[in-house]
Amino acid sequence: MKADVLRVQGLVVHYHTSLGAVKAADKISFSLKADERLGFAGESGSGKSTMALAILRMIKPPGRIEAGQVWLDGLNLMSLSEEEMRQLRLARIAMVPQGSMNSLNPVMRIKDQIADALRDHGAAMSRRQVAERVRDLLQSVGLRPEVATMFPHELSGGMKQRACIAIAISLRPKVIIADEPTSALDVVVQKQVMETLARVQKELEASVILVGHDMGLVAQFVDRLGVMYAGKLVEVSPVRDIFTKPLHPYTQMLIASLPSLEQKGTFRGIPGLPPLLRDLPPGCAFHPRCPHAVDRCQTDEPLSREVRPDSWAACHLLP
């Protein structure tokens, strides 16, 4: 049994708006093992990106982390000062952002953007050492050395995303959080970027949290998959089990709604709409759309429990 690298307990994030608190992440708990790849899938507005940002304490007002703890190797990130947290980001937990297109500085060369991160985190290196490190990093993400002197606009979408991965791994973090790392890329390029991420993860022996809306993509990459709905983590199961024996009714319906290449069938969407996060229904948030809902679902909120070994789900109907 591998040790937990990251443990999230009861994480609650609210966005305070004039219409009331938007409960974007509600009592999220999970743990991440060493060299594990854990995925989070969910529809837009299900709280996946909020959760990813909250782990890094990067929630900006009007958002606020209301409760919860994030333990990284026995260190509670919520107890750190701003400056301690800033030093820890990238060095120990790095993020590959959503939309790499917009996260690189358009007027800086790639090498300067990588070097910036290295210097800021106190790496005492000569100019030559930095250049060498940049070259090694680019090589490890499959980019040619010439890319170092290029500006972001000279790179294709896939290359930019790989440059972002190079920055993310520059300080050899133990945890990499990738938030929709391939959302604007073509399928072939998407596959290349995911292969790059898989390779650097192996080299660094890091753990990865992959957040995405594409169940297929997340499933291809991860060992365990968490499904989010309306700010809650409704199920976490090993990826093989989740597709063969999904536990939560939402997971079942989400999987059934995915288009398959194997067989042509009728379209089975999920009837109804996701609830407003500032006006969640009482009880289970999924009960208005759930075909199996019973009276209890409308009043009691189901808690996440281990339904079968290593599989957690929050549903009253499960044994």
Partner: protein, 352 residues
């Protein structure tokens, strides 16, 4: 057999002339025909930069082809009379990708529905107008009382896109062109929007051209598929054949790269290096630089379409043992094309 909409040897070059270094060939010698006898669903699939959106804009008459013609009912879109253009605008409707940008945030969603009613005089009285609007909203699975009177920001992305489908239906079109209609919609709602498109096809006899980057949804909805690569057709034909046993190396690469939500099928082969920037005047097969089976003929001249099966054509020299097919005969391999016309003559009957 009559033709509804036809693209005939259409080429679109952006910027500069044909041999200008900066010119981008968005679409090259493309032909497609949508018949009016039988409502069909045709998917056009390609990655970004393959010319999908240019094709959509050409078929809508929004851009002028550099060479070739787009014809509606046998008349060229660029030279047709005002009356014909008006009929075309009514019969061919479009659904765009982004369900956020198509709305004016200051108007209620009713605006996009009442404007066409007024413009095309679909109803005599207010009550009649309301009845037509209610009818189309119900057809796409929306409750009129919950939709009308709201502002765009009060509806979800899926609802907004369904209002767009409803708007397209309002004019009782003969053809709907859907350019990435579900790429910005969540998975659980995607199925219902595609379902309503298919319902339109079956129940109202509307032909659909579905343009997408997503092979999985294309497979689910369409009968025939055209795979574009950098502005040229790589493979076309019956969707079952193309998706289940792809012949063109590019189609094979594309299909093997799709992440499928299943525990059994996992990614295997390493993806081939990304494409270089496309330049005008490239001779030879455009896929040759990424193709694992490329040989010297591939670099010299672009391969024509080869008819490898009754219902499939592939633009690749690997299949040069099979009969070559001219571009404007591509639709003769479409499944269903043989049902309305004798086998083999499907492609020639339209020639003037």
């Amino acid at each position: 057999m009559t033709t509804l909409l036809e693209a005939r040897h259409v080429t679109k070059v952006f910027g500069g002339g044909m041999f200008d270094r900066n010119a981008t060939v968005a679409l090259e010698d493309f032909s497609l025909r949508i018949d009016s006898d039988r409502p069909s669903i045709t998917a056009v699939v390609g990655e970004s930069g393959s010319g999908k959106t240019t094709l959509a804009r050409l078929l809508l008459g929004l851009v002028t082809p550099t060479r070739g013609q787009v014809l509606y009912g046998g008349r060229d879109l660029q030279t047709m009379s005002q009356t014909d253009w008006r009929a075309f605008r009514r019969d061919v409707q479009v659904i765009f990708q982004d369900p956020y940008e198509v709305y004016n945030p200051f108007y209620r969603v009713d605006h996009v529905l009442t404007t066409p009613v007024a413009k095309f005089k679909l109803a005599g009285t207010k009550a009649e107008a309301r009845a037509v609007i209610d009818d189309v909203l119900k057809a796409v699975g929306l409750r009129p009382e919950e939709t009308l009177g709201r502002f765009p920001h009060q509806l979800s992305g899926g609802q907004r896109q369904r209002v767009m489908v409803a708007r397209a239906l309002l004019l009782r079109p003969r053809l709907i062109l859907a350019d990435e209609p579900v790429s910005m919609v969540d998975a659980s709602l995607r199925a219902s929007i595609l379902g309503s498109l298919r319902k339109m096809n079956v129940e109202r006899g509307i032909s659909i051209v579905y343009i997408t980057h997503d092979l999985a949804t294309a497979y689910q909805i369409s009968e025939n598929i055209v795979v574009l690569y950098r502005g040229s057709v790589a493979e076309a034909g019956d969707v079952e054949l193309v998706v289940k046993q792809p012949h063109h190396p590019y189609t094979q690469l594309l299909i093997s790269s799709i992440p499928l939500a299943s525990a059994e099928r996992t990614w295997t082969a390493e993806a081939v290096a990304g494409p270089a920037i496309q330049t005008a005047g490239t001779t030879g097969c455009k896929f040759a630089d990424r193709c694992p089976s490329a040989t010297s003929p591939c670099l010299q001249a672009a391969p024509p379409l080869f008819q490898t099966d009754r219902y499939r054509a592939v633009a690749c020299y690997l299949y040069q043992g099979t009969p070559a097919l001219s571009m404007d005969n591509m639709v003769s391999v479409f499944a269903g094309s043989g049902k309305t016309s004798p086998v083999g003559s499907g492609g020639t009957s339209m020639e003037p």
